[in-house]
Subunit: 286 residues, 2 copies
């Protein structure tokens, strides 16, 4: 599909943090928007986004920001995204395309399909490009290069909105795949939420006076425990059924290992480790 | 303490893998040994160590290798180290200094103190410089630069042996600390063995068809699951009491988080994450 250079006249990013700021930089680098407007609850974040050139215009008032918008990107933690949807739903112009960057999709897509009127064209996105760093200071137009973006269109999704948003992410350098919101949340509970929760749990399990002896293994394994606790609280609670399944899977997996150790079953311990090692090495080849 | 340049005439490394090979390279770089002899069960590993210059002489027969040795470095997985000790104990010359690089210390030190006669001077070491990579191909004279080395002298340890081995590690660029073997094993169960086991357990918990969606968070968290499964089997079984305590600590920690999620207790979830985050950030400052 061929689109004209300025896909959008007024792109509005609600939440100018790491991801929102990077979307702004990438929109501008690709010339996709005649004007990029950013909003944030935090004035400092907004000022930083402006001075970095991630947005052309800063606005504290969401309702003022969205007037005339033909693209809105919801780039806050999941809970705030849902509040934003309820807040702006009735105030968007006809054919405004809306996407989000939330880490869980069922609750966001559900809220969007419930509150947006039919003339607002929503499609869910999840760019898997975060890190333990947060804030617009770490934003980059290249953040999405080589990253996976999962989009979650449903039977209600407008096809043009889907194609335009896919075009954006693809031009930002991402590999875009499409799946059902429920499937997204199930997969992410295991490949993303679980490792985060495990990292947090390891940090809790280690007696504080031992931490000074932690080496690269511990540091790498728990790097993501320095991630935003607010964001991860939101993710856990908005995807709690899948998260619980993943946590139970991990607990069951640890219990199996525990039994092999208690039994001093060298064969079982060794098999457990070599299977895990083979799976991990398989990931590098993909 | 001042030592002459050639601290040792014949240094013998039993096990020329990543750590053993790096010890060889570092001994030679520092001119600490007139001759470095290596042994391995794997001829290819021995040949590689020789061609990399990690050893001057390769020997498949351990008993031939140790004739005349005044330094022996036991650099195999913990179980093999213990076999080596029993094997060579009665064949070492008077005042030969022996150290090891094993990841657990109680079982190694116990075996050494049981089998070595009083004229063999043993002191335990644990250079925390491994990685998920193994094999002499990744060895480097600089592997120990900035790494922590924990030495575990006991009341039976000869002071000269302790000082000479400490001198070696220090000159290799490591930060050396001393502690009781039991204390070492307790601490390492939490800061090293637990993150490894958690990484293995995460790889088991994730359905195989989801692995392709794993992003940097998962990759970093489970990087160490690609570690040698043989070595980790040995570690778990030789330090099983502490390892079980650590695994139980992790399971309890996950159960606490699980409860907060089931209760949808935003405050508890957020507190759990922010405490873990603060601990993790504290580690970077050390």
């Amino acid at each position: 599909m061929v689109f004209k250079r300025h896909l959008f006249r007024r792109a509005v990013i609600l939440g100018t943090g790491l991801i929102g700021g990077s979307v702004g930089l990438a929109l501008k680098k690709n010339g996709f928007a005649a004007k990029v407007v950013g909003t944030s609850r935090h004035e400092a974040s907004l000022r930083a986004a402006l001075s970095m050139g991630a947005i052309d215009e800063a606005e504290m008032d969401i309702h003022k920001a969205i007037v005339g918008a033909d693209l809105v990107v919801l780039a806050s933690p999941v809970k705030v995204i849902q509040e934003n949807i309820r807040d702006i739903a009735r105030h968007l112009r006809r054919n405004c395309i809306v996407t989000d960057v939330g880490s869980t999709k069922v609750s966001v897509v559900h809220t969007a399909e419930k509150y947006f009127p039919p003339h607002v064209l929503f499609v869910g996105s999840h760019p898997m490009a975060g890190s333990e760093k947060s804030g617009v200071a770490h934003a980059s137009a290249d953040l999405f290069k080589g990253a996976s973006v999962i989009m979650t269109p449903t039977s209600k999704t407008n096809r043009l909105a889907r194609d335009k948003i896919k075009h954006l992410w693809t031009k930002f350098g991402a590999d875009v795949s499409m799946m059902e919101p429920a499937r997204h949340d199930e997969i992410l509970a295991f490949v993303s939420h679980l490792p985060h929760l495990a990292a947090f749990a390891i940090m809790h399990a280690i007696p504080e006076e031992f931490l000074g002896f932690g080496s690269t293994g511990l540091k790498d394994t728990t790097r993501i425990a320095a991630s935003s606790s607010k964001m991860w609280g939101d993710i856990c609670l908005s995807n709690y059924r899948n998260v619980l399944r993943a946590v139970d899977g991990m607990a069951g997996s640890l219990a199996g290992l525990r039994k092999a150790i208690v039994d001093k079953d060298e064969e079982a311990v060794s098999q457990y480790f070599s299977q895990a090692k083979a799976r991990r090495e398989g990931m590098e080849k993909k």
